[in-house]
Amino acid sequence: MLLAICFVVFAFRATALSQTNPEPATHTPIAGLAQRIDAILANDPEWLLGDRLPDGLLLRRLSLDLRNVVPTSEELEAFYADSAEGRWARWIERFQRDPLAAERLVDWYDKTLMQRRPFQHVDRASWLRLLRTVVDQRKPLDELIRYLVTSVWWNPSQRAEQRFFLDRGGDPHAIARDLGRVLFGRDMQCAQCHDHPQIDDYLQIDYHGLFAFVSASSIAEGTTKDEQGAEKKVPLYIERAAGDAPIESVFDKGVKFRSATRVPGQPEQFEPYLAPDLRYQDPPKADALAGIAPPPKASRREALASQLVSTNRAFAENWANRLWALMFGRGIVHPLDMHHSDNPPSNPELLSAITDALIASQWDVPAVLAELAKSQAYQRGHRLPMDSYVNEQGVLQAPSEVLTSWTDMLQNRTTAAKAEHARLIEVQDAKKMVMDDARTQWRAIQSERTALRAELDAAEASFQESHKKFTEAQNALNQASAAEQATVSKIGLLGEAAQKLEQAKSSPDDPELSAAVAAAKARSEQLKAALPAQQQATVAATTTRDAANATREGERTKWQSVVDKLTPVEQRLLDADRRFAQARKEHDTSRTEANLQLRLIAQTERIQRWIQLSTDVINKRLQVQQIEQEQADIAVQLASLQQQLETAQKQLDGSQQTLTQFDQLLSTASSNISAIESEMEQLRKTKQALVDSASLIIDPAVFTAATSELDRALEVRSTKLTEAKSNLAGMTQQRIALMADVDSSTMLRDQAMKRHQDGSMQRDSIDARRNQCLSEMSALTEKRVETRGLIGADRQMQHATAVDRPLSPEQLAWSILRSTGVLHSYIANEQVELNKAGELGPDATEQQKQAREKQVLRGAMDKLQGYIDIFSNLYASGVGQTSDDFFASPDQALYVANGGAVFSWSGPNGSNIASQLLQMNDPQSVATKLYEGLLSRTPTALEQQFIVEQYATAGDHRQSVIQELVWSILAGAEYRLYP
């Protein structure tokens, strides 16, 4: 209703949200977009396009995208059971009709437009009310944007629509940056003080063109009445009339220029020159404007809004890209606010097709989303067909004919792309020359205008001065004239009074009344006497005023003459600007195309490299195998050499032993000789002693007998000695032979040893070769894995496989609340509350029922908002970031584990999943319900087995085990991620 008031009172604002029938309008059909998408993406061969996601997971993805929650097991069962033709389209429609879908869009609008800025000047409830109205009435997206940008400010009850500006603190630079990012997908912040240092497409004039739209807007306090009728101050984002201020580049000091308003890709817009005293409208009849200037006649915000239409390609492409990203998890241009030629779209034809469809649908968001969901591309999974040829070690083992067809295709692609790139670089160079030329021409006229604008500033200052004097003179005249009028009217009144007093006399000489009449007449005379002076003063004031007016009009004429000089210059400037804009566009397009070829080359070469690396790994492995064969051979050889060595050694040992034994014999023989010799010596000594003592012997017979006895003994010994000596001589001969034996064995042994050593060395070198090969193989493997990762990223970028993305903080929170039945019980409570206030009658229309359903859901969701805030505080990117980058931190985990809420929700309550599981007796069904209800898929055999085991051993703890299982799935990685 508040929108309607606005429309009635200020109907001239073309951009106010029109009040339409809440029934969705009939929208231009954009059927066929899905097929068009798939046709465009079929440029890639099938082996590079992802598989189809299984049904359940597909439903999960759709549910998250359209409703911000995962599906329940009941929904999943119904989806499985639905086998009729057209099931997918039917389920898209079913989800889009769900009241949750409206909230999903509200959430998307909110995050996209406000980027998680806190509610500062506008409260959450009014902002949500505005967005919910937009979604419920299926307002065209462009209309909403125009409405927010115009941001009517003189009705304090409409402050929600000012939130885009108010909650950015009203700062023109912050707003200019976000106008670029949110409306055009261009973050030109770095082009504020100079042309963007890294992105050639972003010029300082682009930034200041946007800045000029809001440079005259600011936050001011208005007064309004609260519900109790008390006055209160409210901040309003107001706009004043303003000219453009001089700008200079910090890179190019001294060169100043002016910038009027400009949206990216369009020429500058010059607003009509209105004399300073004619720039504002009459104050509107709203009561909020105490102390605030009325709206300017030429509103720049309105001017911006008027350019936010289908013909503005940058605007339309930005929103098409954002809708794509909503469904696909990453933009065709990504990051979403980096549209420029060095960051080309993944597929320009695709972006173009979505943009055309968005326009054709008349900016109907749900219609476009439905078509995106219908495409095959939307339904892709994470695996590539080429992966089916990859073995468990991650190595590609395709049949050679397959591999050949792949490599041929890739080679052709690279060759063609390189040629095309070379051609495009030439085109780009030519386009650049044209662009630079156009820029120079434009700059020349720009500086002409800048000079004239300075002149206009001077003329305007003089005019303002004379206007001030005129206003003063007019005020003086008004005062003089008022004084004169007052006197005249007093004279009249006194005359009338005297007359009436005369009539009122009861007698002609009524003394009191006569005195009164006389007094009145006297007073009247007095006044009459003063009148001429006053009349003269009025005349004088009139003269002064007329003179001031003449001066002012003179200044106006001078001012106008400057304007008249400016107008043709601006016309020429506009022409030059159009040529410059056109040249820029052509240049940027050719640069985009060249960059696309570069990207295609890089992507193709990565696949080629991966195939090459896979082959290299296989070859390396073969080489390793060969070496391992050599290792086996050499091992056998070494074993035999070892044997030979051992044999030779044994032989050597034998002959050495023989020698040793022989030497023992030899030594025995030798000591035997010594013994004989020593005996003989002893005998000789005995005989000599006998001879020496012969004189003493009395009996000569005794002497003779004794000596002969000794001689005999000596003789025996002598014979023995000779024998022993000859024996020894023989043995010495024998030993020489044995020695020769040992020598030859030693030689044989040494030879065997040498052979064995050689063999060992050979073995060591083979081992070293193998190690070398293995480390080369692991380096190759590492590169292969890395390259495969890059290809994976490329494929995601080209929308050939599903994107790895987390649930948004809101999706995670709402999904958990819904999966655990919390949302359901809040809805039930809300229903009861609303029914207390009045139930819907049996004759309620379908429309009323739907409205009630929505009201119930919204009531429940608003009450759960506190939990959502906890999750977004923990999981969301900071304020003002383009998108929610994924990050994981221990405080998130601490909350999920110990915060209490998530674990307690996981337990049985009402008819939630844990309660249902508790009722079940068959562990198999428990497993199925658990996985279908929470993860939208049937468990694998391993998972089934795991659950069954837990169930079997749970005993008395069954309830706890169920609660813990539910919790651990909610806390698991699969739940955190998109399927």
Partner: protein
């Protein structure tokens, strides 16, 4: 093998791709750039690239604006000097205020910067500049030193958060101090001596149930990860293990575990406990701790306030520095004493000093900072810097250089190159040893 065998393109790989594209398709890929933005996913290898070392930072935020004249740059006898004397320190030739007798004995560890000129007299803006090294602009947010330190220095596996702000009040929420580095590097606020929120298991849980549910979680993850492992899943599952480790190490946050004697040495006041907590956290591997000493905004009765405040600070701070040195931590820890600005040399009618950012002082110590030095000089009345003038941009560069981080490098954030510190400023090489 260094690379995890991810089934699909991991974010890490995407980063490499971006980098590749940048080099391939833009002419100017100038400067040395390190990968950032998706900090949670920085792997060990990338950490090496970031030059992670065993350095730490501790900041004493003298909230409200400590008077340089009653601390680091006294002007006894000057008409602006106030009633206090200057005393000699452990470094011959350097004198500081008599309000800092204990700190004077630690002067040989400290480096005074007496020529700070930040030209910003607003509390909020001044604090922003000192913590981020940039002037605040409405269209861009910059990360605070704590977030940068956490990103560049912190070891994710320690189980402890890398960026901790200890405040008297505390409060569990995350601030936006990390800006584009992402909330992972935002501070965890500790209220006085309380551990982080939710760091204890629910009371209703017995050890068995606790162990069981995490075992379930791991088992259930395992099956999924065999199909869909990526940098995202690694980071996510890791965060739960980190949380468990943090719970195990919850004692780290319990100052009462420190010996009674130490509690006395630091002073049995808020700041003393904060400093002891800081020592404990730094010893346990936390990269950044900020302690806050409030109440320096002495527009009235400047001198009495400073006697009381600086006295408290002197005891806690001197003990802290001496302990860090004794424990061998000082050479690995940058200590900074800062405010949002200093106080006017002029003494106002209420015996107060007002906001003054043209000529004031900060202190740095430890890590690669020169020891026992005084850099920069103000004139006789302390109204102007006459030598060694530095501003917040240079100071911020110097923080980073002091802990071995190249402050001239850029981070690549969401495809954009962002200089880590103001590219228009340079480190103060003269105070770096």
């Amino acid at each position: 093998m260094r690379y995890a065998n991810y089934a699909c393109g991991s974010v890490e790989h995407r980063l490499s791709r971006r980098r590749f594209l940048q080099q391939a398709s833009t002419a100017a890929a100038a400067g040395s750039a390190v990968v950032g933005g998706l900090g949670a996913l920085t792997s060990g290898a990338a950490a090496k690239e970031l030059g992670r070392n065993d350095m730490r930072v501790v900041v004493f935020n003298m909230h409200g604006g400590l008077s340089q004249l009653e601390s680091w740059d006294p002007k006894p006898g000057a008409k602006t000097g106030g009633p206090f004397r200057a005393i000699p320190t452990s470094v011959p030739g350097i004198h500081i205020s008599e309000l800092l007798p204990k700190t004077a004995q630690q002067m040989h560890h400290l480096c005074l910067l007496r020529g700070v000129n930040t030209a910003e007299d607003d509390h909020g803006k001044g604090a922003y500049m000192m913590l981020t090294g940039r002037r605040q602009t409405p269209s861009a947010e910059y990360p605070q030193i704590g977030a940068v330190a956490a990103k560049m220095l912190h070891d994710d596996n320690s189980g402890l958060p890398g960026h901790i702000v200890v405040t008297p009040g505390g409060g569990g929420g995350r601030g936006n101090e990390a800006a584009y580095l992402g909330p992972k590097f935002s501070s965890i606020h500790l209220g006085g001596d309380k551990p982080p929120q939710h760091s204890v298991k629910p009371e209703s849980f017995n050890e068995d149930a606790e162990r069981r549910r995490h075992e379930f979680r791991r088992r259930i993850n395992q099956e999924f990860l065999s199909q869909r492992r990526s940098a995202i899943t690694d980071a996510y599952t890791h965060s739960f293990e980190q949380a468990l480790r943090l719970m195990e190490r919850r004692d780290v946050f319990d100052v009462s575990k420190e010996p009674e004697r130490d509690q006395e040495r630091y002073g049995k006041h808020e700041l003393g406990r904060q400093c002891l907590m800081a020592r404990r956290l730094l010893e346990n591997g936390v990269s950044f701790v900020q302690v806050t000493h409030a109440n320096y905004d002495t527009h009235n009765d400047n001198f009495n306030f400073h006697i009381e405040q600086v006295g408290e600070f002197d005891m806690a701070f001197s003990t802290f520095v001496a302990d860090l040195f004794e424990r061998g931590l000082l050479e690995r820890t940058l200590v900074v004493v800062m405010s949002e600005f200093g106080r006017t040399p002029h003494i106002n009618l209420y015996y107060g000093r007002d906001h003054w950012s043209k000529a004031w002082s900060i202190v740095m110590a430890g890590a690669k900072v020169a020891r026992g030095a005084a850099f920069g000089q103000t004139n006789a009345d302390g109204t102007e810097v006459i030598d060694g003038q530095v501003d917040h941009g240079q100071i911020f560069h110097t923080y980073l250089q002091a802990v071995g981080v190249d402050s001239t490098q850029s981070l690549i954030v969401d495809g954009r190159e962002v200089p880590m510190a103001d590219p228009a400023a340079e480190p103060i090489w003269k105070v770096l040893a």
